[in-house]
């Protein structure tokens, strides 16, 4: 990003697809100047969209103030206001969108609607320095393999039922040891491998049969062995489909995005696979792996440069906005 000080652009980005309300500020020279995130933690059970949205509106002004302070930037210095337009929960998305519209209007600056999944990938490319990877996206309740092809991130493979992370979390909870990383820690003391349903279709995976079978074996075999079997099977399936996608997309880099990217064993497997194809592996560091404002700000910078901005009239949130519906014009500019 060879931008001189003069034409350096600054974008503020707001993340609010689910439990995180985040504000980040990024510059066109690739610097993250601020990354302030507040996570709503429900008292019990899963996520309550309305309560999360209430949390986001309570915290919004504070997060904005802190981000501007952290960056040492005045609102007037900003060149664009980005927000996550989807996919996500409607009530949460609307908080971020409303805040972004208000700031953009007040400052008279362009509004930028960012696809949340694209942002996870773009912050990964920025932080790790990889250029054109096949991406294993195991963020949130999602499992997919994607890569940039001809103007967009195209989906090469995905789960046919439940997400890999969910599969291991549910198993861990039902086994009484808690969600990841507990099953992987137990797996380290595993010795015997029990075969479980291994269901791969092309570059797609399916985990529900595997989970059911593993749960049936609870109490019948050593827990450590069962943990070994389920983690090895899940990771092998992911690595195998990633290997197929790498060949199909004809790429030389792999980027791991999302919570499961923190798994040491999965990373080790993928690195061994990559060696067979002279490919390089990158993983998004924990700081930027979860939902955060910086990823929206940085993707906002890219969109601003590529002219992908929005009129207020067209800025309705898109709770079902798929990754492959989002244009990535900056990639055509070589960014």
């Amino acid at each position: 990003m060879a931008a001189s000080k003069l034409d350096e652009k600054l974008v503020l980005g707001i993340e609010s697809t689910a439990h995180t309300f985040g504000v980040g500020i990024a510059s066109s020279s690739g610097k993250i100047l601020a990354n302030v995130n507040y996570v709503y933690r429900p008292r019990e059970g899963g996520i309550h969209p309305r309560e999360a949205a209430q949390h986001h509106s309570r915290i919004a002004a504070k997060a904005l103030r802190e981000a501007l302070e952290q960056a040492g930037v005045k609102p007037i210095d900003l060149d664009g206001i980005a927000f996550s337009i989807g996919p996500g929960m409607g009530p949460c998305l609307r908080v971020g969108a409303t805040v972004a519209r208000a700031i953009a209007l007040r400052l008279g600056k362009p509004l930028i609607g960012v696809n949340h999944s694209v942002a996870h990938i773009e912050i990964g490319r920025l932080i790790t320095g990889c250029k054109d990877p096949v991406v294993l996206y195991v963020a949130g309740g999602n499992t997919m393999i994607t890569s940039y092809i001809d103007g967009r991130y195209r989906i090469l493979g995905e789960t046919l039922d439940i997400a890999a992370g969910n599969c291991l979390d549910v198993f861990g909870i039902k086994a009484g040891i808690g969600p990841m990383p507990a099953p992987e820690e137990y797996a380290r003391r595993g010795e015997r491998f029990h075969s479980l349903p291994y269901r791969v279709k092309g570059m797609d995976v399916s985990f529900s049969g595997l989970l059911t079978a593993a749960l049936k074996l609870l109490g019948e075999v050593r827990l450590e062995d069962l943990c070994l079997s389920i983690t090895e099977t899940v990771y092998s399936m992911l690595t195998e489909t990633l290997e197929r996608a790498l060949a199909y997309a004809e790429k030389e880099e792999i980027l791991l995005v999302g919570g499961l990217a923190r798994s040491r064993r999965l990373m080790e497997m993928i690195e061994e696979m990559a060696k067979l194809h002279d490919a390089k592996v990158y993983a998004v560091p924990p700081e930027y792996a979860g939902d955060n404002g910086a990823m929206i700000a940085w993707t906002g910078v890219l969109q601003l440069i590529a002219g992908q901005t929005l009129r207020i009239e067209d800025s309705r949130v898109r709770p079902r906005f798929r990754l492959d519906e989002a244009e990535a014009r900056w990639r055509m500019l070589g960014l």
């Binding site: 697809t17 689910a18 899963g46 996520i47 969209p49 996919p87 996500g88 929960m89 949130g140 309740g141 999602n142 499992t143 997919m144 890569s147 092809i149 001809d150 195209r154 989906i155 090469l156 995905e158 789960t159 046919l160 039922d161 439940i162 997400a163 969910n166 491998f193 075969s195 291994y198 791969v200 279709k201 092309g202 570059m203 797609d204 090895e232 099977t233 092998s236 690595t239 195998e240 290997e243 197929r244 790498l246 060949a247 199909y248 997309a249 080790e268 497997m269 993928i270 061994e272 696979m273 067979l276 709770p319 079902r320 798929r322 492959d324």
Partner: protein
């Protein structure tokens, strides 16, 4: 040049001429034996997999591919004949197809030719499905095209012998997505002709039921995230 390969029972087969393709799963080499051209498909051990799992996967897929190809050829569906199986090496010896992967040429073919091929592929897949086989990895890199314009299906390691509509529908989903991802400009026209050909072989009612199933499959994976977030 490598030595001739020993086969179960000590038989020797062919001279390895060259590795023609390092696929995601297998190494494909061209061989010549008594003037016959053929290929070997060796499923290489994957160091990243747990050894037991690795052995099991390679053995099962090799055996399965040989079985499925044999029954597909009985149904008259074009795929490379199996000449020999060396199970201990997870290696198949197959008829050489003198052609290219459809993936490499599809985008540069004239529109009428794309439609003709799509229709022909639809007929092949329709017949395969009615014969009780789901391919399991139906992408344009597992379809070959020879110089005469004939199509062949290859790579049956992930296939299933089944008449479960779901398994069959996954094939259509995979093909459609492989077009959507790497040949997106051709996707609509290709799928239209493909489904026409499919209906010719499998019948309109069967196709209709299949398409419903494909829609259902698509609405599962892709929206996992929003489903989770909504609840």
């Amino acid at each position: 040049m490598e030595d001739a390969r020993p086969i179960e029972g000590g038989m020797m087969i062919g001279e390895k001429l060259e590795v023609i393709r390092i696929g995601a799963e297998a190494i494909i080499s061209r061989l010549e034996w008594n003037g016959f051209k053929m290929v070997s498909k060796h499923r290489v051990p994957k160091p990243y997999r747990f050894p037991e799992l690795d052995r099991w996967i390679r053995d099962r897929r090799t055996l399965h591919e040989a079985r499925v190809i044999t029954s597909l050829r009985r149904l008259g569906i074009p795929c490379p004949a199996i000449l020999l199986m060396d199970r201990s090496e997870a290696t198949l010896y197959l008829q050489l197809i003198e052609g290219v992967e459809l993936k490499k040429v599809l985008d540069s073919l004239p529109a009428e030719e794309v439609e003709r091929l799509a229709n022909e592929l639809g007929r092949m897949v329709g017949r395969m499905h009615r014969g009780g086989v789901a391919h399991g990895d139906l992408t344009t890199s597992n379809i070959m095209l020879d110089r005469m314009g004939n199509l062949y299906l290859i790579d049956f390691g992930l296939s299933a012998i089944t008449d479960d509509l779901e398994e069959l529908a996954v094939d259509i989903h995979l093909l459609d997505r492989s077009l959507e991802s790497v040949h997106h400009r051709l996707r609509a026209a290709f799928m239209r002709s493909f489904l026409k050909g499919y209906a010719t072989a499998a019948g309109m009612d069967f196709l209709q039921a299949l398409i419903e199933k494909v829609k259902e499959i698509r609405s599962r994976g892709r929206y996992v995230e929003e489903r989770r977030k909504r609840h």
